[in-house]
């Protein structure tokens, strides 16, 4: 399958001239010095048809398919034999940043994003390294350019860059791996060799822009959403479409309504520079029949209305956007929480399911409300509040949100709110099984005494805004911080709950074997019966489970892969420390761990 060769070092990374949209930042491209240890010969190019309908054992998109179910049709590992699972191999990932990896599988090869731009290709059966792409340390020229002031001026080996170099997912298309970076660029890497083919600087990292979400492919366009939009600047957050062959930007759609645009008045009279937030920090989904991508947006910044200076809806924050991938035009939007005011994000994954002949989109945000929309029109269909929040009232007929009395924060006044700003739900994606018609949702249970404070309203200022916090256990939690919640789809009725002292810290994975896999902060990976939530198997790993577990098969054998790692949002460490202080995790140990039945 592979051919060893002597390719190593930077020169091989410059096979083609890289591209740059921002000339002043083009220096970044001279930094790249990937390591390549082997040439993969059996790799077959990935086309749209393969992406949209992947072979059973493949995992070609970050959540398996463009519909983002997080479901594997494999059933070799099932409820009868899952207790026999064995570790087949493990591979250490980069430990200089945060890991929230979503691996991909193609032709028996695992492509896995690691921290700080590192990507590795591994033999999915043996765990052997096939190649590694690792950006080189910045040059003095780059540092002096000012382009890397957030990251590149740091000492080698130090944590650098806001977000600690998270790259959640990568995309696979043609013969390339596509990645987005902590310095707001997009890279194309040769999937056979691990060598850089092009890099495009999409935004200026000195303004705070960076990526944590990776790209997706939709109808031949590379689409990705930026984050780091919290500071005041003369620009707003956006989603872009690119030519996968060259990186050329085809379109750019703002995720914030500009003053002169339709909906621009939803920010009151705030000028463009004070319209912050609406970050697009979780990758979207794609419906090839409708030819629409679905991408979530985050809250407005600063978080509290009183701090950002408007009570308006603040379009298109906290919305689901349906965009044409060919030109970026917005087919529709649905704003889940107009004028959101407590950091209750709705940016997360969009799960596309056809229910009773209706093409639907399911989504859940931090409040723990499961939304069902018509994904062709954006029409509201149904919403289910799972009952852990005390902030809003939901009209189940119209989907309209209204804030409960006293729950719109005022500067300096304490609010008692559930959930805390960690959210009932976060980036830890839920999974859908067509076999059980159920959604499996990683839940975090806790509440917070929160006092929101002011920020400077000036260029470079803003941000999320300060919050004094006192976290406490959710009154319905029995002292547990974690839960896997199974909801019937589309009724929204609770099928079962599985709770743990530690918060769950990964996406859920469900399989045709009747299983749900997830991992917690306290190093425990679990397999549950998808029908009833019964615990069937557990294992302790090196450090916190963190990322997106997957399943795949090679030569007829099924595997389960679980990423573990440190880093992540500050509260992912502070919550256990404050509310479950008997738990601890090693500061190192980032790795991918692969399990299978005995041979």
């Amino acid at each position: 399958m592979i051919r060893s060769n002597a390719m190593c070092g930077g020169e091989f990374g410059k096979r083609e001239l890289p591209r740059s949209i921002l000339p002043s930042l083009s220096l970044t491209l001279s930094l790249i010095a990937p390591f390549a240890s082997a040439q993969i010969e059996s790799f077959s190019a990935v086309d749209d048809e393969m992406l949209n309908s992947p072979a059973t054992g493949e995992w070609l998109s970050w959540r398996g398919t463009p519909a983002a179910w997080g479901y594997s049709p494999l059933d070799q590992i099932n409820t009868e034999n899952v207790d026999q699972l064995q570790l087949k191999w493990s591979f250490a990932l980069d430990d200089t940043g945060a890991i929230q990896a979503a691996p991909l599988i193609h032709d028996g090869i695992m492509f896995i994003p690691s921290a700080r731009g590192v990507i590795q290709a591994l033999d999915a059966v043996t765990g052997d390294l096939l190649w590694e792409y690792r950006p080189a340390p910045p040059t003095e020229e780059f540092i002096n350019s000012g382009a890397g002031t957030r990251a590149a001026v740091l000492p080698a080996g130090a944590f650098a860059g806001v977000g600690r170099g998270v790259q959640k997912n990568i995309a696979l298309y043609g013969e390339m791996i596509y990645a987005s970076t902590e310095t707001a660029s997009i890279r194309a890497i040769d999937a056979r060799s691990g060598l850089l083919v092009w890099e495009t600087q999409v935004a200026d990292p000195t303004l705070g822009y960076f990526y944590t979400a990776g790209p997706i492919i939709a109808n031949g366009t590379l689409v990705t959403g930026i984050t780091g939009c919290d500071r005041y600047k003369d620009d707003v957050c956006f989603i872009t479409g690119h030519d996968p062959a060259t990186g050329e930007e085809k379109w750019r759609t703002s995720t914030v309504a500009r003053p002169e645009d339709p909906g621009g008045d939803t920010w009151g009279d705030l000028p463009l520079r004070f319209r912050a937030g609406s970050d697009a920090w979780v990758a979207g989904s794609y419906d090839p029949q409708a030819n629409l991508i679905y991408w979530g947006t985050a809250q407005a910044k600063p978080w509290a209305r009183a701090v950002r200076g408007t009570d308006g809806d603040a379009l298109y924050t906290n919305s689901t956007l349906a965009l044409n991938p060919d030109n970026g035009e917005m087919a529709w939007y649905f704003q889940h929480i107009p004028g959101e005011t407590q950091d209750m994000d709705e940016v997360f994954e969009n799960i596309l399911i056809d229910i009773d002949g209706r093409k639907s989109l399911f989504k859940m945000g931090k409040l723990g409300i499961l939304w069902q929309l018509d994904r062709e029109t954006g029409e509201f269909i149904k919403a289910t509040d799972i009952g852990y929040q005390n902030i809003v009232n939901l009209d189940p007929i119209t989907g309209q949100i209204t804030y409960r009395d006293g729950m719109i924060p005022r500067i300096g006044e304490e609010l008692n709110m559930c959930p805390s700003t960690s959210g009932v739900k976060s980036w830890r994606a839920m999974a859908y099984s067509p076999d059980t018609s159920a959604m499996y949702i990683p839940i975090t249970l806790n509440c917070e005494l929160a006092t929101f404070g002011p920020t400077e309203r000036q260029l470079g200022g803003g941000g999320a805004g300060p919050v004094r916090r006192v976290n406490y256990h959710h009154p319905q939690s029995d002292g547990n911080l974690g839960e896997i919640l199974a909801l019937d789809i589309p009724s929204g009725e609770v099928k079962w709950r599985y709770r743990s002292r530690a918060p769950f810290n990964t996406a859920a994975l469900t399989t045709a074997g009747g299983l749900v896999f997830a991992g917690d902060w306290n190093r425990t990976m679990s397999a549950l019966d998808a029908d009833n939530g019964e615990l069937l198997w557990q294992v302790r790993l090196a450090t916190s489970n963190q990322g997106f577990p997957i399943s795949y098969s090679v030569n007829g054998k099924q595997y389960i892969a679980m990423p573990v790692g440190t880093g992540g949002a500050s509260w992912s460490g502070s919550l256990p420390r404050e509310l479950a202080p008997e738990l601890s995790r090693p500061r190192n140990g980032s790795s991918i761990n692969v399990f299978a039945l005995p041979d």
Partner: protein, 143 residues
């Protein structure tokens, strides 16, 4: 012998100075009293760049997951509390991936750097690694 006496005198003088400092802080010192030195802030900046900047940013402004450490946001979170409380929170919880694992002096140095970034005045003495003294220094608005 002479050297020994000189050393003893120096120790006595330093002890007296530390006692005086402690008394002064205990009697209501604030961050506006010149409680750190520029050299210490310089050391703290190096610590900050190595261990803190990734989350709190080069301008100490923070991001969605990490509070800002300067300006209005910092004062909102810390005004009315003491440097001791600030120091203890940093020492116990930071960096989030390895809380409490920096050398003790690094923590107090990085507090000095944050004081400097907030334009609290520089003084002649270093901020000591002494909880009692730090507890006597209030984070207060400009007098």
């Amino acid at each position: 012998m002479g050297n020994c006496m000189a050393r003893l005198k120096l120790v006595a003088a330093l002890s007296a100075a530390v006692c005086a400092l402690s008394v002064s802080y205990a009697q209501g010192g604030t961050v506006w009293d010149g409680v750190y030195s520029s050299e210490q802030a310089e050391r703290g900046e190096a610590v900050y760049k190595a261990a803190c900047i990734a989350c709190h940013g080069q301008d100490l402004g923070g991001n969605s997951n990490s509070p800002g450490l300067v300006g209005m946001g910092f004062m909102f979170l810390w005004e009315g509390r003491t440097l001791g409380a600030f120091f203890e929170q940093i020492r116990e919880e930071m960096p989030t991936d390895r809380p409490g694992q920096l050398p003790a002096q690094d923590y107090v140095d990085v507090v000095a750097y944050i004081m400097q970034a907030n334009s609290f005045p520089v003084g002649d003495n270093e901020l000591p690694y002494d909880a009692e003294i730090l507890d006597g220094i209030a984070i207060a608005p400009k007098p």
